[in-house]
Amino acid sequence: MIKVLKAGFYSSIQDMGRFGYQEYGVPYSGVMDVLSASMANSLLGNDVNAAVIEITMTGPTLQFFKAITICISGADISPQLNKRSIKLNKAIQVKSGDVLSFGKLSKGFRCYLAVLGGFKTEKVMRSRSMYKGITAQFMLYKDDELDHEDVLTGVASAHASIKVNASHYDSEVINVFKGPEFDLLSKDQQKELFANAYTISKDNNRMAYQLEATLKNNLKPIITSSVLPGSVQLTPSGKLIVLMRDCQTTGGYPRVLQLKESAINVLSQKFTGQSILFKLV
């Protein structure tokens, strides 16, 4: 068992998401940065869908009540075990009583804590991903107790550590495809879309990233249709909204672009004030 001593800014349990329930209006959810979460899991030899803690901006403080192997990947929020720095992307053995805490955010925005075998929290509609109205709670709170698999053997090479491609954090480029309504934009609007760098507004969370600056928009709203994580909507006021993993299943704004899956991961590591540049692939 792991106990939450301090909650931090926003942490939640996530796996690869809730699939097969779009017809009922249920969002996919799941880890924002699939690449980083998968790395933490694979370094432990876990199933790719094993539930992890997604940690945003400032980390929680956690205490372990069983010996377990852990791995942290993604953003660098200066993780410490018993106040001593530990490495990212490395399987680390913790003992009962050890305390994991975090410090300064130095790279990225979201990191992932995986434990050997995965977290065994409540499973609703075939997924442990927390989402308001689906799971009993949607984020971690102080004093929460999290169960995990009781495994001590089968640790992946404890020496394995992986170098991460720096562009995952440093690049401004967000690779996109044309969205279903892209062709309704005028040539000038299409050009403008790729010419400007867009700043991420303070309205960014697991549901969507709103971008500052507006695009000239004369498109009519569409008849409510399907949207996906990574859909870029253009609102009547000309604002661009990039939908993320917790987005609703349908929407009525024109879908001008669609992020490449890997670009959703890249955007997940960005935060308020940073800028991005759309690039058609």
Binding site: E23, Y24, G25, P27, I223, S231, T249, R255, L259, E261
Partner: protein, 250 residues
């Protein structure tokens, strides 16, 4: 009547939507003939059992096809879908249900009835009558888990959304917004005009079928008293309420 008398053909467009989805679009109208064609295509895709397709979901005028892996050859997939559409059984009966939803229109719940009554110059009784006499079609579920997009609201009840949305609308609120009516499956902010409340649960994540209704089903609202509402609510909370329904696959 959910069965088409003759084949109506539509010019469909197929668009890639990201790496793992294809979006098929019908003409941009809200129309039951379109819905029936969409559902028939959807059923045909399910029957064809394409292994790589993990999810098929419709809206008013589209079908979203989700693939388990990156869809490498868009043209091949589209050709297969076109073949399925062409061969879809025209005589195929769309099996759907008619659900009777108890609604209490008491002013305790129907907090906007007075305002609608003034604006539309209709008595509250007339509003309730028009709302509960129509048969509504479920087009799809979206916006919130378990939120049904319903067609069939009587023209006399079309009324704009409120200029300032409410921060909190109660679970089960029955409301009108624009040309649509709907039920809030959960507490949520919202801008629709509230005329009543149903004790029926429209979404239960604990069930394998989290929402009883599906696209193509029909809904009627049956007025009940405050007392009946309370009684049904108790049965719903205890998990023993049986929702009235009948098959309409004639």
């Amino acid at each position: 009547m959910l069965k088409l008398d003759k084949k109506v053909t539509f010019n469909l467009t197929y668009k890639p939507f990201g790496e793992r989805s294809i979006l098929i679009e019908w003409p941009a109208v809200i129309d039951e003939t379109v819905l029936q064609d969409i559902i028939r295509f959807k059923d045909a895709i399910h029957d064809f059992n394409v292994k790589s397709i993990v999810e098929v979901k419709n809206t008013y005028n589209s079908l979203l096809i989700n693939y388990d892996l990156v869809c490498r050859n868009f043209e091949n997939e589209v050709n297969l879908l076109k073949k399925i559409y062409k061969s879809s059984d025209l005589e195929h009966d769309i099996v759907s249900k008619l659900w009777t939803i108890p609604v209490c229109y008491d002013p305790v719940f129907g907090i906007d009835l007075d305002a609608i009554s003034i604006e539309k110059k209709l008595s509250k009784e007339a509003i309730i009558k028009h709302h509960s006499e129509a048969v509504y079609t479920v087009y799809f579920i979206g916006f919130l888990p378990g939120f049904l997009y319903l067609g069939g609201l009587d023209k006399s009840l079309h009324i704009p959304r409120k200029s300032t949305p409410r921060l909190q609308i109660e679970k089960g609120a029955v409301a009108i917004g624009g040309q649509q009516t709907g039920v809030y499956p959960n507490v949520s902010p919202g801008g629709w005009n509230i005329i009543g409340n149903t004790p029926v649960a429209f979404f239960n994540p604990k069930l394998e079928l989290p929402c009883f209704a599906k696209a193509g089903d029909k809904i009627v609202f049956k007025p009940v008293s405050l007392k009946e509402h309370n009684k049904i609510k108790m049965l719903v909370d205890a998990g023993v309420y049986q929702l009235e329904n009948e098959l309409v696959n004639d």
